[in-house]
Amino acid sequence: MEIKKTPLYDYHIKLNAVMVEFAGFFMPVHYGSILEETKHTRQKISIFDIFHMGEFYIKENPEKSSLDYAITVPVVKMKNGKCKYGFLLNENGTIIDDLIVYRISDDEWMIVVNASNEKIDEETLKKRLSNSAYFENRSNKIMKIDVQGPLSREIIKKIAGEKINNLKYYTFDKFDFMGGRYIISRTGYTGELGYEIYIDAEKSEELWKKLLSFNDVKPAGLGARDILRLEMGYPLYGDELTCETTPLDAGFQKFLDFEKDFAGKKALLNHKQKYLLCGFIVNGRKTIRHNGKVFINEKEIGYVTSGVFSPHLNCAIGMAYVLKEFALENTEIFLGKEKPEISGKIIKPPFLKNTSLKS
């Protein structure tokens, strides 16, 4: 299969980005230093090319909503202008994908999904939606640029106007700029104050250049994005969330609405939970990565889903599925590739508190 390029590909090359293949796209992993980009995001403003993620548009009568059953998000109950995090589940309760739903109007929704799952998401949704529902995959036409960092509001204001001040966390609106009307949401994957801009793909370069023209704005790649999300304990599909885990295993009950019916609900109500997703902090700098093991003394009690060095905590951190009975905060653990190598303890994320997220 041919690896796709984002509309900003040439621009990343010009900026000397190191490119990697990710979910079928050439994506910038960094532009010089992952750690510097990570720190810059928590101090100033970083911009991320997130073209690879998918955007679906769905229109249907909310009184006969089939989307409401198709995903866990209460799409009929949620207010217009709101964003909500949730899941597309198999009937057995395991996760096909995690997603964010935007309610655009009474009868229209945008769903943002992971690039790696776009195809199966589209197939599953089309199967579950009624014939009267309108479905469109606009992923190729929409550029998503994330603008993240404590100073990001001032920059977005210069682009989209004063109205941006009204945007609360996990809400969105349409703004008139660059000759069009585009969605900006106050969302992100970094744990800082931040925005996600959805713009016509052909305007990508114009917007990217405009953003970079402001002081304090630098591009950041997937490397920084991964550290930033892990410092907040945000899950990544493929690592923490898989087609073998349920939202309950991941500890995400609060994102489920059991008052309504949804695909996978029955299975979740009967789910016998064995593992719980936990954060862990390592005593020292040695990183334990995906597929590492968790021990108490010599007994294996879990497996690592992600691990990175956190430049803000100055030690290694990560996430792991741990047998439920051991998944208690501050439990002393050992970690290692095969056998216990280094010590650490279980922590309830976020690892970083008091970020600019809700400022």
Binding site: I34, T287, R289
Partner: protein, 126 residues
Amino acid sequence: MNIKQDYFYTKEHEWANLNGNIARVGITDYAQHKLGDITYVELPAIGKKVKQGEVLNGVESVKAASDVYSPLSGEVVKVNTALENDPGLINRSPYEDGWIAEIKISDENEIKNLMTANDYMKFLGE
């Protein structure tokens, strides 16, 4: 890429700087660039005996964990403890402040298995 004139090099991108029978060793500018930001250096134990081409120690970057191979055989007599709290020294100064260990070499003849700066430059160019 920065290359030091009087150092010797391996194909795995380590360097050795000889002073009598003591070789100071580290990784090259090319290697640190490839690895990205170094976040952890597992220093070898003092007294550790290594053979040329064997694993001397491990380094971790934001991207991956890698082994460092000893350019020469001998015994580790000194390690750069500054790397414990500041592994980024390897990124900022791979040939000087970011050195990893000093080895008391046991066989001078092994030097002929290493590349000179010019050889290494050619090797990188290939």
